[in-house]
Symmetry: C2
Subunit: 147 residues, 2 copies
């Protein structure tokens, strides 16, 4: 959400200053763990990730962080609009680093998610929201099985 100012201290690659600014803009203190997790999450393009997966990555990257903090951080990022939680059945939660309008293929057999660009899919004929409610988001999940 924050506009990148031209900070002379920013170098190529992972810009910790930009990450810090982004966290600050979301009202989150840029702690070591949050900066590291944000870098992992947003440094590699669009991803679908679970708490467990992120924890494993963090450990491999030498970041000392507990699973509890992973959960806290994912939810904080989600509430700040930096992540979107995915609505897939199953007991695991997945978070999507791509918060723009798009949809998903879901391969049930392998639990795998594949992005569908948002501008491909058009949904027509939705009824109005009930009184006092408004539509926040429409999720389309296309379930795939072996042909």
């Amino acid at each position: 959400m924050s506009k990148p100012e031209n900070n002379p201290s920013i170098k190529c690659g992972v810009t910790s200053a930009a990450i810090s600014a982004r966290l600050r803009g979301a009202g989150l203190r840029p702690t070591r763990q949050r900066c590291s997790l944000a870098t992992l999450l947003f440094g590699k393009g669009d991803r679908h990730i679970s708490a467990e997966m992120l924890h494993e990555e963090a450990v491999k990257a030498g970041v000392r962080v507990s699973l509890a903090t992973i959960y806290n951080t994912l939810h904080q990022f989600q509430q700040s609009g930096m992540l979107r939680e995915l609505a897939i059945e199953g007991q695991k939660s997945y978070f999507d680093t791509n918060i723009s309008n798009h949809n998903h293929f879901y391969i049930e057999e392998r639990g795998e998610l594949i992005d569908i660009p948002g501008d491909c899919v058009r949904v027509d004929g939705l009824p109005e929201a009930p009184p006092g409610m408004r539509i926040s988001h429409v999720d389309v999940v296309v379930r795939l099985v072996k042909a």
Copy 2:
């Protein structure tokens, strides 16, 4: 020998023969528990129900059944195509007794589901399934928040 009705103390009601036939057709032995649960599930129109909810209903109806059997039965019914599992985020599983093509409003705040008739919504522009895959089903979930 050809007595399809079983234990008279069970609340299978007038439709027990039909329920039995339906279970048999699905390759499931019409046990007391399965008959009772099928009656609860399909005797009241379309429903969205969790294992816990069904268990509670069964107990209230005087049907002696364990939670493990509820889970087994729900999954058996699902695999037979009598139920559809709903893809809503969260740790609880919900099953839908309406297996025809339709979609859902989801009120996140209250965890409540509302049916959207299947013929209202049209989804266009879906990309092809990846090689070796085919589309089994398209779920549309319309998330609602307070206006």
